[in-house]
């Protein structure tokens, strides 16, 4: 098992054990004090900022929102963010599928090290994630002079933003698939191969249907992080406003120009994206748990009977 990342799907039941006996719980006073502390901390730390965002976004009413979303710079930033995510997410999805297949379906030397390296981008500062590509493709970078001679722009242009975003969101799909595929085991796939199925049939008909929810969630999470990426794109976007401002950068521009209502209006859209991600996580966790429970019940039922022929 390698590094824990929040927002990966939990397999354990979310509901506390219903059988609460005196030996497993605390006196009511302790219990309610702890609940109070937890609730107070979450309200203060998480709910207050959330309320602030929507309060500020609506500080000039609907008219303010309309003004904010008719600004050409803001509209351009939304378009740019969608473009970056549309390139970065599929790349990372393919990578995640390949990496998960490799790590959970084969045993080879250096597997643990590989897993750790895949996690590395999560722990590296996003600013450094932008810096590495600037040092490669920037004007003073390793390939900078060559790129200028050939008229190719990577840093301070769309390709740079995509590279920085891919770096930062690199592990998310793999991180969500690996634990699930590990727990599902290789048995069914190996059986299918021994019965003569082809590799792509095994993948499409056996693996994919079983991991589809985890894959979907990995994509949603990767997308949310890609659209909200800030540190890496700050470095790679330079200061060309409008041309290379993604949504978070546009939020910063507006905020620094004291257009508070507009900044928070755009921020509230990103917040909604985050909230949708959380709702989907809750839903998909519930689905996965139900599927797993159904699968294990099925196995228990079918154990004494002969193996059905497909």
């Amino acid at each position: 098992m390698s590094a824990v990342v929040p927002l990966t799907l939990a397999a354990a039941p979310a509901r506390p054990a219903s059988r609460s006996n005196a030996a497993r719980t605390e006196p009511p006073l302790v219990r309610w004090t702890l609940i109070g502390l937890a609730v107070a901390f979450i309200v203060l730390l998480l709910i207050f900022p959330l309320l602030t965002i929507f309060h500020e976004a609506f500080s000039k009413g609907w008219a303010g929102l309309r003004t904010a979303y008719s600004d050409p710079g803001t509209l351009e930033s939304i378009r740019l963010t969608l473009t970056v995510a549309a390139i970065a997410v599929p790349f990372n999805a393919l990578f995640g599928l390949a990496a998960a297949w490799l790590i959970t379906r084969f045993d080879f030397r250096g597997k643990r090290l590989l897993e750790v390296i895949i996690d590395l981008p999560i722990w590296i500062s996003p600013v450094v994630g932008g810096l590495v590509f600037l040092l490669l493709f920037g004007r003073q970078g390793l390939f900078g002079p060559w790129l200028i001679d050939h008229g190719i722009k990577i840093a301070f242009a769309l390709p740079g933003l995509v590279l920085g975003t891919v770096f930062v969101t690199f592990p998310y799909v793999a991180r969500n698939l690996i634990p699930l595929m590990e727990s599902l085991g290789r048995g069914e796939e190996e059986a299918a191969i021994s019965l003569g199925a082809r590799g792509w049939q095994v993948f499409l008909l056996i693996t994919l249907p079983r991991v589809k929810w985890a894959l979907l969630y990995g994509l949603v999470l990767c997308n949310a992080r890609a659209m909200g990426e800030f540190g890496a794109v700050t470095v790679l976007a330079g200061n060309v406003r409008g041309l290379t401002s993604t949504m978070p950068l546009q939020v910063e521009n507006l905020y620094n120009d004291y257009h508070m209502a507009s900044a928070f209006a755009l921020a509230s859209l990103l917040t909604l994206l985050g909230i949708v991600t959380l709702i989907l996580k809750t839903f998909i966790e519930w689905r996965t748990r139900r599927d797993l429970a159904a699968a294990s019940a099925e196995i228990e039922e079918s154990l004494p009977e002969p193996i059905p022929t497909p």
Binding site: S2, V4, P6, L7, A10, P16, N21, A23, R24, R31, L34, I35, A38, V39, F41, L44, L46, F48, P49, L50, T52, F95, A98, A99, L102, R105, F106, F108, L114, V116, L120, W123, I124, S125, V127, V128, L131, V132, F133, L135, G138, Q140, G141, L142, G199, A224, G228, E229, F230, G231, P248, V251, E252, Y255, A267, G274, T277, L278, K281, T282
Partner: protein, 289 residues
């Protein structure tokens, strides 16, 4: 090569290594390469050793202060998250109360919310005229634009790491162990300290380390609330941006390289901790793998 039953070893290995090299390994190698190239300004001052130049860059007083601000704030935030994250994980996995599911889903908010959005929201909230800032101002407590503000932002960022590391372990604890302790005459506190806590400590330390590691590199949520005053509220990632704004690529590369090494150190620590953790849970007959 050994024979594998399932197909696709070559393809998945090839694509994984290709993606990893293209996006992660090669760029990071280029960062270290760049850090070792002496810039013309340094050569002009008679500098000949690149190692000496790197050392001089990453130990400039302003840079050292930025490490101090980063490490101090991150450590304090991680420890506070250690306490409250543990309580939240415990409450969410052990008690039933109205709104529990909502709180459980909300814990992941800092991870789903773009960091820049969190940054401006926290700044508004804790600014002297903000909802919370105006309550604290009469007592002379300033949060926004001070190191306290940085710490608040890092507490926000780190919370899910502690909760989501400790929570599954609490849920996997076997009830019979606690019941056995009670049967043998232990009171609840003794059971907690002697039976439950030892099983949770590895995960707890792991969570705190993760929160710490994440906080050290954090940028978006800090940059707004920090005011970025050199020697006071300037964290290391912001210093990299400042160096880049002055076109000091060599300086940025040196500090960036130091930060990558630090990230690797954190990741190595966490991996070791988790090995300890899984040995411990398997030793206790836990069903985790």
């Amino acid at each position: 090569m050994r024979k594998h039953i399932l197909p696709g070893f070559g393809l998945s290995l090839g694509y994984t290594l290709f993606g990893l090299s293209l996006v992660v390994l090669f760029p990071i190698a280029a960062l270290f390469h760049r850090a070792f190239v002496l810039p013309p300004e340094a050569i002009a001052t008679g500098e000949t050793s690149s190692l000496h130049f790197i050392w001089a860059t990453i130990t400039e007083p302003e840079v050292l202060e930025s490490y101090r601000v980063s490490l101090e704030s991150s450590l304090f935030a991680a420890l506070l998250n250690g306490v409250f994250g543990f309580i939240i994980a415990w409450v969410l996995s052990r008690y039933e109360f109205p709104g529990r599911r909502l709180l459980d889903a909300l814990v992941d908010l800092p991870f789903a919310l773009p960091t820049a959005v969190a940054g401006i929201a926290l700044t508004e909230l804790y600014a002297p005229n903000g909802w919370l800032g105006s309550l604290l101002a009469p007592y002379g407590i300033r949060v926004a634009f001070t190191q306290t503000g940085i710490t608040v932002a890092l507490i926000f960022i780190g919370l899910p790491f502690v909760v989501r590391t400790v929570q599954p372990v609490i849920q996997s604890l076997h009830g019979d162990v606690e019941e056995a302790a009670a049967c043998l005459g232990a009171d609840r506190w003794q059971t907690f300290v002697r039976v439950i806590l030892p099983a949770l400590i590895p995960a707890w330390i792991t969570g705190i380390t993760l929160a710490f590691g994440r906080a050290v590199g954090e940028y978006g949520s800090v940059v707004f609330i920090a005011a970025n005053i050199p020697f006071k509220t300037e964290i290391a990632p912001i210093l990299i941006i400042h160096k880049l704004e002055q076109f000091n690529y060599a300086g940025a590369a040196a500090i960036g390289g130091a930060m990558v090494l630090f990230s690797v150190l954190i990741l190595a620590t966490v991996t070791t901790l988790q090995r300890w953790h899984s040995r411990r849970t398997s030793g206790h007959g836990g069903d985790e793998s």
